[in-house]
Symmetry: C2
Subunit: 598 residues, 2 copies
């Protein structure tokens, strides 16, 4: 094992790399790297082994991570000079574009959540390694850190270690606690962690303390007193040096101050990207017209999936008896994780599970997925394979009022370039779309409905991504009604009413919101004379707007004002997205002569 002197020299070598890289790039956060140099040296060259995982939660210290990778032989040293260049995988903050990165960072206070997921995944698979998370002091202000802390203690994750690089200074000034490290220690202790305070620039102390990781019986928090810019006197412990590289002259002086730092050390750290598997399986059968809510169908579907795919895990936020994930929880308790009311940690844990090759199904009310929006962003940059499920979507939930209604979930997922978004209208499509989600390696979203709806499809029907279903059609169709989920049923009622008035309308179930079946939508719009109505239980016509991009101007029925409590039917009527509103809109859409069946 490397001696302490060698580790100290390695810390300086990592400093030199970080300084050179950021000066060459003309941007970056060298002072943030310098406070972590001894910690990174000890981790990479004395602590981490081939079974361990490492997450750099303070993502702006990316240069020292790339430097540690280079010194560990994981990447070529010459790559370091490409930092932040447009064709380099060594980005300003770690993303999964760099193959050794399993959890992206850069939005602060997310690394520990992912670490909890990794540590749980290790426990589940019986894997011997430990999980180390290096976090800044500033980011401990994020509530997500305390959600993770609570969860880690609750699960007694003795294979998880957090190191806080407490360098006293945030971006715009000192942190709330500055160098009052006891403030951090008290909090982690109160949350049930093993804690210790160390001098983060003392190699011997770090070696001794970090060796305890994995054998403390509880999650371990190491609070390291450090100095931002440590080792370069012109910037050390000084404000105004966040995210600022040295200029050439300052760099030369800094290198001179640090000295040569010649050393080479072996590292055992070797992160591996998990592979993706899917095993096909038989699904439930339903009868046409049977009344089943899509959330109940989801619960059953997840059971089937889980029976044939042992990497599937379920995470829920104390609403499993509403999302119906509880079926899975009962059948597979060891693969089920109660995240309690802490949606950020729920999503963060999922990032960790995904990074370890598991496929997490994360369910809560659609409304409360907004709580995890920033985690969805980072999951996307982590290349995570996570399936989000939002129940109680739209105003149709009725009496509970707007705070419980998922009305922005579709907009949120539509703003993610690689997300797959499904919205089933019945039990059969829920089953099939869950299977479709499971086949896909990436972030997906399934929106489910609270109330029972009639089964519309035969059990043989398939629902490929990027498709739609035509539920009512004739050669005389003069209007196209595009609906999804709950509004499909309103559209079918409207179709019957319109038919009785001699108006032929085509009804489409747009179960795949992203990818959008562009060509099919265009064709149907054309066949219906360009008279398109989109009806959605969702804010501000988000789906209509996407269809307009494909099919030209459309008439949009959606939730355009803030809803309220009432029955589901009252709310659908009040927001003008029910069958009556569809009938009125179609009639208005058609010129007088078109209303008559030819």
């Amino acid at each position: 094992m490397a001696g302490n002197d060698q580790l100290k020299t390695m810390a300086d070598k990592l400093r030199i790399h970080s300084l050179r890289m950021t000066t060459a790039a003309g941007s970056g956060h060298p002072s943030t790297c310098l406070s972590a140099a001894e910690i990174m040296s000890v981790l990479f060259f004395a602590v981490l082994n081939e079974h361990d995982e490492f997450i750099l939660s303070k993502g702006h210290a990316a240069p020292i991570l790339w430097a540690a990778f280079a010194e560990s032989g994981l990447i070529a040293a010459k790559e370091l000079s490409t930092l932040r260049q447009v064709d380099s995988v060594l980005e300003g903050h770690p993303t999964s574009r760099m193959p050794l990165i399993k959890v992206a960072s850069g939005s602060l206070g997310q690394g520990l959540n992912a670490g909890v997921g990794m540590a749980l995944a290790k426990k589940l698979s019986g894997h011997p390694g430990r999980v180390f998370v290096l976090q800044g002091d500033g980011e401990t202000a994020e509530g997500s850190v305390w959600e993770a802390a609570d969860c880690a203690a609750g699960y007694t994750l003795d294979n998880l270690a957090l190191i806080i690089d407490a360098n006293r200074l945030g971006q715009s000034g000192p942190t709330r606690h500055g160098h009052d490290l006891a403030a951090y220690e008290k909090k982690f202790a109160a949350f049930g962690w093993e804690t210790t305070i160390v001098d983060g620039h003392d190699i011997a102390e770090l070696v001794e303390v970090l060796a305890r990781a994995g054998s403390s019986g509880r999650p371990l928090a190491v609070i390291a007193r450090t100095f931002k810019g440590k080792g370069v006197s012109s910037i050390e412990d000084k404000e105004g040096w966040h995210g600022k590289p040295l200029d050439e002259k300052e760099l030369l002086a800094a290198l001179d101050e640090i000295g040569p730092a010649e050393v080479a050390l072996p590292s055992r750290y070797s992160p591996v990207r998990p592979s993706f598997h899917f095993h096909d399986y038989p699904v439930s059968e339903y009868s046409l017209g049977e009344m089943v809510s899509s959330r109940v169908a989801y619960g059953k579907a997840l059971l089937h999936l889980g029976r044939h795919n042992d990497k599937v895990v379920a995470i829920d936020g104390d609403v499993k008896n509403s999302t119906m994930a509880e079926d899975f929880f009962k059948a597979f308790p060891e693969r089920s994780f109660e995240a309690y009311i802490a949606e950020q940690n729920m999503a963060g844990m999922a990032m960790g599970f995904s990074a370890m090759g598991y496929v997490p199904y994360v369910a809560t009310f659609a409304a409360f997925l907004t709580r995890a929006h920033d985690f969805l962003r980072m999951a996307q940059y982590s290349g995570s394979n996570i399936k989000f499920v939002g129940s109680h979507a739209g105003v149709s939930i009725g009496a509970d009022g707007p705070s419980q209604m998922g009305l922005e979930d579709i907009s949120m997922f539509l703003s993610m370039p690689e997300a797959v978004i499904f919205y089933p209208s019945d039990a059969v499509s829920t089953e099939k779309l869950l299977r479709e989600m499971a086949r896909h390696n990436g972030i997906s979203y399934l929106r489910t409905t609270r109330d029972k709806t009639a089964v519309l499809y035969g059990n043989e029907e398939e629902f490929p991504a990027g498709g739609l279903k035509v539920l009512r059609r004739s050669a005389q169709d003069r209007a196209l009604v595009v609906a999804a989920g709950i509004t499909v049923h309103e559209a079918l009622k409207a179709h019957a009413l319109l038919e009785s008035r001699g108006i032929a309308a085509r009804v489409v179930d747009l179960y795949s919101l992203q990818p959008l079946p562009q060509a099919e939508l265009q064709r149907h719009a054309g066949e219906c004379g360009g008279n398109v109505l989109v009806v959605e239980d969702n804010y501000n016509g988000a789906i209509a707007a996407r269809i307009a991009q494909v099919a030209g101007r459309v008439t949009s029925l959606s939730v355009r004002e803030i809803p309220r409590s009432g029955t589901g039917a009252e709310l659908l009527a009040l927001m003008k997205i029910d069958s009556a509103a569809i009938v009125t809109a179609v009639e208005k859409l058609l010129p007088g002569r078109d209303r008559e069946r030819s």
Copy 2:
């Protein structure tokens, strides 16, 4: 003052109301109300005075709040029977539709954040009252609670009291800590709070402990041991009774068990909605062509606004030297609040400030506003007057990489029916749009750009909400290029290139994204032969989709894949939203003959 026996009888009366209301409504959370009956009785009839504020963070206990309002004489008792009806303001969870509600609840773990804002507002205005927040035990798992706890202790908010109704049971099972109340106490103590554990059904204990609020020198956490469904033996402390009303028969048995509960008590609680004022003010002047980033212009503009509007406060998340809120922080330190890296609490505090008549300007990187998405939802249901400002928008920030790029902010605000969304392209429009935001009483969003851009407008130009600016036009225009913010400058460059190739294109600066200038967009699209190109530094063509809804199919240039580190110019080019991409797209848009100037 009411005697303890009377308060106990009132608790039972509140129970009776809650049970009757929810049975009549056929839905709701009676068991959650029952655990809080003594707490509510003591608060409303022995503790709260006319200077105090109260927030029901556990919003699903709304029935007992409405009942307490009725018993306090704030609403008529007969209104209680309208719970959850579509024409009632007594919704399933409290919203600002009910005039006495200043902070909506129902997404859990947000009340304390708003309480922190209210308590700070009271300190700022020298107001004598206290702020009481009643929270469930389940919701203490939300990280936002710990962000608030940290902030309250950091500001020594001795005028803030939190009562935790620790009834042991969440929705789908026991909470993590169950009745281990010491677990909660340890945490709040570690975060710097005065703490105490009480029997939440013991009137005398509650009276004594809650009297301490406002005189403990620190924020006070009262952890109350309670039982869900207390007082009705068939549901008391039993699982499976969350969000479930009694049926008629169960109700009769319950009323029989509770007894008559005849009492009438006076309450001093009288919440008042603040009024809205705006004082006009002179703005900065800029020179045409001057290079100024819109974030720097924002910093200056906020200073001007703040000088003439003493209710304006600034809140920032440790990036004030990036958002440029730091100008305001230096000029008005007493009205400036550092939220540190805790965006949920930042937004929650703003809800509290707004509820007290202040107008908070909340700034961070646009990307990190996603962290507060669920708080934006609830601010909307609170009728809050909050101005959000997101800097570092889009891929043009370049080298830091995708985690720092605001690319979903516009989609997020576009999904809010009442939000006003502005995206200035230069310093003059930033100044004017900030003033426009300030005039508006409601949630608004201003998106600013990191890099310097040329001043495009004279100082006399006005930028009304729902407008746009035509920057280049001719009678020969064959294509309409709609741009916003940074892409306006790319569109102007493209215009010059197109002009040199004999192609006349109209260039529009769409500074008002919501409300959208529909008629004007339609007119310009028509005048340009329906050839519309929308170019935006934003994910998945969110703006293009809205314009398509107005102007028919448009060509959309936006960020359609996950970006990476690079220079701003490289990224704009790589994502195909730069001037070269605009030129190519316009040329492709026009049939051959149209390319020639007539």
